[in-house]
Symmetry: C2
Subunit: 146 residues, 2 copies
Amino acid sequence: MKISTRGRYAMRMLADIAEYGQEGPVSLDAVSRRQDISRKYLEQIVLRLTAADLIRGSRGPQGGYRLSRSAETITLEEILTAAEGSLSPVACMDDSPNRCDRCSICRTLPVWEGLDRTVREYLSGITLKDLIEQGSRAKEAENTKA
Amino acid sequence: MKISTRGRYAMRMLADIAEYGQEGPVSLDAVSRRQDISRKYLEQIVLRLTAADLIRGSRGPQGGYRLSRSAETITLEEILTAAEGSLSPVACMDDSPNRCDRCSICRTLPVWEGLDRTVREYLSGITLKDLIEQGSRAKEAENTKA
DNA sequence: TATTTTCATAGCATAATGCTATGGAATTGG
DNA sequence: CCAATTCCATAGCATTATGCTATGAAAATA
């Protein structure tokens, strides 16, 4: 049940681009320096994020990445799904229709489907903007709950 | 973000023991046959479940395992935590206090803490009994939500 | 005392993670 | 037009985790 570094670095990278990308594109070198993450590894991760069209790159000097959309419309659910490939708690859910032999008689599948919904709902409620504004949304959620 | 086979098998094993353990202890051999899971692998997993005192074993002929408590008081959160070792979405949360260098300035930590709470809350709401009663609780949750 | 069970540790193949390396392709400034 | 800078893409590789199997106790029963 762990989020890998791919997902976590993706979040930090996007937060960095959102924060420092107001004037122009943000280079991976800058992200790498500020976030203290290997640039080569960031290059790997960024492929997934551009493939998901969360950011767009421009080459050459002064090049770099900028968000495809505004920070308040990009959710953590999107970022993590793009970076990790899948967020579902069991692999059999990744292909639809479910190809598991036991899937029709499986008593645990409804549990995983519910868990998947729960996780996605939580992560969809937090945007990149929330993230760069000191995680205020997370604390809000905590208060709303109580 | 995957639940490993350890966690999933643990759930199926406990459900099996809950279901067939009314009269007496359930042997791993029986579980293995019914659930079609390697007995040797079950032996591995069962160690964690007995360590967490979810079930108790008795040796010798007619031996096997029985639940330490009634099925309606054992939650999936307990089972999965015991089997997987930890449910938290990031490793740094596993040791308290958090030993991560960046933890004081980390803007993503509140997100993970919230996610952890969300997941635990969901899984704590489902018991072993719910599981053997055709996952009715999971569907309930779905309805309550709508 | 032989059989059946749990209990405990060690080993091991496969896959995933977390990178690094290499090199190409576009863009810009001089 | 050329050199530097950036993104883009693939390959490789060490370390760890997963998903088992093997071996051999120790306890209980009959």
